[in-house]
């Protein structure tokens, strides 16, 4: 079966982000960027499906500016067969991304769309569900296990209070939770080889997708910082403070 994996270029998860002084966003100049961690997990799962023989072709796709080619190169180095970049200037909103993904999924006639459950920048957790809706396909969100058998996807989902097992008709959309797998490290020779591979360029127009933003950012601000606390010397002092100062015990 053919698998489409969506990847997003985001500020690296180890970076302490800075809010711009004018409140228009977060500083991204000279900040380390990398593939969204959840997308790496989705990609790793698809690569494992290739290795197991359940995936015949693995296509990686992103929507972003030219700098986003780097996340596609790491996808190719990890094991993707092909890469597609849909050229967009502004960071697109989830519904727009879902429309792009649905269009690519239809054009490529894929059987499975694998995505991360959320991007660590907008924290939206929407794109996979929206893509499934636009395609009319079932969804397996927050997946910690995925097996394909008899034309169905069996998905173990992380839910509040435990785990739910779903069986989905294929084609389907699955979003990866952290516990789905441990992504492999990409080795340098694979990275060098991936640099020579072509990346297909595509536009929202060619896919017939309207990229008009539907939600307007008014302001980005720093959260109110917590006031600095105190160090206590021992358990007795801690309990005294909790009881007589904070009143929580």
């Amino acid at each position: 079966m053919k698998v489409l994996v969506g990847v997003k270029r985001v500020i690296d998860y180890n970076v302490n982000i800075r809010v711009k002084a004018d409140g228009t966003g977060v500083e991204t100049e000279n900040v380390r960027m990398s593939t969204n961690p959840f997308d790496e997990i989705a990609l790793e799962e698809a690569v494992r499906m290739k290795e197991a023989g359940t995936c015949s072709e693995l296509i990686a796709v992103t929507a972003g500016d030219e700098a986003s080619n780097e996340v596609l190169r790491s996808a190719l180095a990890m094991g993707a067969d092909r890469a597609i970049r849909i050229d967009v200037e502004q960071p697109p909103q989830p519904l727009n991304v879902a429309a792009l993904l649905a269009a690519v999924a239809r054009r490529e006639r894929v059987d499975l769309v694998l995505l991360g459950k959320q991007a660590i920048d907008d924290d939206a957790n929407q794109t996979g569900q929206m893509t499934a809706a636009l395609l009319g396909w079932p969804q397996g969100t927050f997946a910690s296990e995925l097996t394909i058998e008899d034309g169905r996807a069996r998905v173990a989902r992380e839910i509040d209070g435990g785990q739910q097992i779903l069986e989905l008709e294929l084609p389907a959309v699955v979003t990866a939770d952290l516990r789905l797998n441990e992504p492999r490290f990409v080795k340098l020779p694979a990275m060098m080889k991936a640099k020579k591979r072509p990346i297909e360029d595509c536009t929202p127009d060619a896919l017939g997708v309207d990229m008009r933003p539907r939600v307007e950012r008014i302001q980005v601000s720093e959260p109110v910082p917590r006031e600095a606390g105190v160090r206590v010397a021992d358990v007795d002092e801690l309990l005294d403070k909790l009881r007589n100062e904070a009143g929580v015990i």
Partner: protein, 325 residues
């Protein structure tokens, strides 16, 4: 224009989830008429009890077997079929709502807003981004506003005094695209992590699942819920659904005690709105001390038993009263 609001209720077994009550509080802030949609099987009692709450105009009941497993395919069709006439649709930002509402949003061609923590007007909402390290204020240009509501940001107090009618609605046909093949839930009688008044949370420093019991014992003494860092969950010390943080649960208890947790930004995203934070860690430079009201530097294996012992003494005093959920 008057706001007309549809709240999609989350129910667990045959009770109203606390997250639904928080979502109702958020809906009240929009100052309009509020309808509540309840879907599932045997939801009669839940519907009656929602109908008795203040400010509710109608409770819509969709009772059918295919709506009971929380399957997004069937539920999203149901909700999408009922959004007409509403200016706002609100769902709790739990795994239930996060799974459901984006699907509804795409079906009705609307860009939604996730994890709303403040409502500034009929079309202006605040929500955290970058693991809670920034707050984004958005104006939604869509004719209909679809929002998931972060439960810890709104009160889950029950306001009684309503008497709304309960109406049955058309349930639609099952899609049959998905099927629940199994469900494993933690059946403990301990306080729920998201709604507990006290949370004690452990990290990698415990070293083993056996040692993690020290924390569970402390939790039992405090009538607290047990939380964990991702490191502790990945190491198998605690189950997945205990995880607090950007990718786990967001909690805001009166007291959060972090034991052996360094305080990575992903963890802080899930607990920095707690009223009082205590950190117990042997590394005096651990980032958790940057957000803790009270920090105690030391070995958790010495501190926890002493803490337990002294809390027991405190609790045995007649005037002692612990914070309840």
């Amino acid at each position: 224009m008057t706001n007309t609001i549809l709240v999609v209720a989350e129910t667990t077994a045959d009770t109203i989830a606390a997250s639904t009550l928080s979502t109702l509080t958020a809906a009240r802030e929009l100052r309009g008429t509020i309808d509540i949609l309840v879907a599932g099987v045997a939801v009669e009692a839940v519907a009656e009890s929602l109908a008795s709450m203040a400010d509710v105009r109608r409770v819509l009941v969709a009772e059918a077997a295919h709506l009971s497993g929380g399957l997004a395919e069937d539920l999203a069709d149901l909700v999408a079929a009922h959004v007409d006439g509403y200016t706002h649709v609100l769902v709790p930002a739990t795994t239930f709502g996060k799974n459901l509402l984006p699907r509804v949003a795409a079906l009705v061609d609307t860009q939604m807003v996730s994890d709303v923590t403040a409502i500034q007007g009929a079309e202006t909402f605040v929500h955290p981004i970058y693991a809670g390290n920034a707050n984004e204020t958005l104006r939604v240009l869509e004719p209909r506003k679809l929002l998931t509501i972060r439960p810890t940001a709104f009160s889950s107090e029950v306001l009684a005094g309503g008497g709304a009618p309960v109406e049955r609605v058309d349930v639609g046909e099952p899609k049959g695209q998905s099927r629940e093949a199994g469900l494993h839930v933690d059946a403990s009688d301990k306080p729920q992590l998201e709604s507990a008044g006290v949370v004690v949370s452990g990290g990698r420093a415990f070293g083993s699942a056996d040692n993690f019991r020290l924390l569970e014992d402390l939790a039992a003494d405090l009538n607290a819920a047990v939380g964990a860092s991702r490191a502790a969950v990945d190491a198998g010390y605690a189950p997945n659904d205990c995880q607090v943080g950007q990718t786990g649960k967001v909690v805001a208890p009166a007291l959060y005690i972090a034991v052996g947790i360094s305080g990575a930004i992903q963890h802080l995203a899930g607990m920095t709105d707690s009223r009082v934070i205590v950190a117990i860690n042997k590394d005096p430079d651990a980032p958790i001390f940057g957000v803790a009201d009270y920090g105690l530097v030391g070995d958790l294996f010495e501190i926890l038993p002493e803490l337990r012992e002294k809390i027991r003494v405190l609790r045995s005093e007649p005037d002692s009263e612990l914070v309840e959920a």
